[in-house]
Symmetry: C2
Subunit: 259 residues, 2 copies
């Protein structure tokens, strides 16, 4: 039987909130078995960028990463947020290592090709080095990935953290029974976006089509749902979507997505 | 027979210079055997701090680390400089992992006690987790340490990179034949500080006393020399001081320090 592995993506909003930040790291520490965290940090990067006089450029809600913005992403995701998470996890007894996709050559990517939009230094994932990550897990370490990848030739890229979580989960699924947790500020996928208590506890391919047809899955959730099914179609066993409480043992109030 | 291990401390000035930066990483990549890098980044941190309106506070040439300065150190040493080094080393085929002392619980420290001066969030090293670092080396990774430590309770500290290099070298010397390289902008310890060609190629405890007595070792070199003998008295086999070329095979023009 395969060992289990939990991949927990922690959203940027949760990292902003000091209390929530500590609580999520405590709950993550208590998760049994092998585990990996993937975190954002976009809001903090925007704040620091603004202070440095570098405005975040957005097109259709997607961040454009010019050279200066990449520097800030590397400083904030790869430095400030990563090391604060690691130091706090060590306090909770989890032997964490904060990593970009360049560390341990973990995540290789290429610059997103320019079509209508040039996203700048945004990387699309080519390959997750599952064996390198496996060696870290095997040695007792807990990898904490920020939303950075590299091209193997010295160039770092900004890469969407949800995508990284899905790609890492897929790559590790040859070796592990993998569950992917998308942890964000809502209790799950909501039937009524205004009502926090309308969590849809289970979605599968069939009900997903229905939810789409009725317009219940809203714009913001579409890329996340796309990542869910992409992961599930590539050997990931289960995807869970919810807020911090999702990681609390015995809490049923979140969304589970299966094929 | 013990395996060899090279610990290379790369000074902040070398990191500022783009050409030198790439060259030193290439030479580091070519070093045979197990290796670890320790890097500074103080100048870059000062630049970015200034842009953010946070001035570096110095007392007697030592940096005072308040909360904001620590944030910048974590962003710049732990993020920007660390990840740029790692991405470039991967391009040279070295499987690097950029780490603070919190990652892999590698370097534990306590806040420097307040006497005449409160240095702020500056950590004095208590313990280097040699076994954790050994496991990374054994798994084929090359640890790249920045000048940050932690207290195991969630607090990060700024710690002098020369000291970190010495402490890591000492801790690893139970298991390895360790050589410590202090790589900076000069060709070595100079007999005449104005003359780059006056490198003293060998210093031992006896000649060191003489050099001190004649005032040849200048103020700036004293803490470095202190670290050298501290390391040598604690099982480190050899300390070498010089510029980038020191890592070039066959170059004799640097200072070797032995007991």
């Amino acid at each position: 039987m395969k060992q289990t592995l939990s991949i927990v993506k922690v959203g940027s909003n949760l990292i902003e909130d000091d209390k929530g930040f500590v609580r999520i790291l405590e709950l993550f520490s208590k998760l049994p078995g092998n585990k990996i965290m993937v975190h954002g940090g976009g809001k903090k990067a925007t704040q620091i960028g603004n202070k440095l006089g570098i405005e975040a450029k957005m097109i259709n809600g997607r961040r454009i990463t010019d050279e200066k913005s990449l520097e800030i992403a590397v400083m904030v995701y790869g430095g400030l947020v990563s090391k604060q998470i690691v130091a706090q996890l060590q306090a909770f007894g989890t032997n964490a290592i904060g990593m970009s996709g360049a560390d341990a050559n973990a995540i290789l990517a290429h610059k997103r090709p320019v079509t209508k939009v040039d996203f700048g230094f945004v990387g699309d994932v080519d390959k997750v080095n599952a064996y390198g990550i496996f060696k870290l897990l095997q040695a007792g370490f807990t990898p904490i990935f920020c939303a950075l990848t590299h091209d193997g030739k010295g160039q770092l890229f900004n890469t969407n953290a949800d995508t990284i979580a899905a790609e890492v989960a897929i790559a590790m699924s040859d070796q592990f029974d993998t569950t992917l947790y998308y942890c964000f500020e809502k209790k799950g996928v909501l039937e009524d976006v205004e009502n926090e208590n309308s969590v849809i506890t289970h979605i599968n391919s069939k009900t997903y089509e229905e939810l789409l047809a009725y317009g219940i899955i809203s714009n913001g959730m579409l890329p996340k749902m796309h990542n869910c099914f992409y992961a599930l179609k590539n050997q990931v066993k289960k995807v869970c979507i919810g807020d911090i409480d999702m990681l609390e043992k015995g809490n049923p109030n979140f969304t589970t997505v299966t094929l």
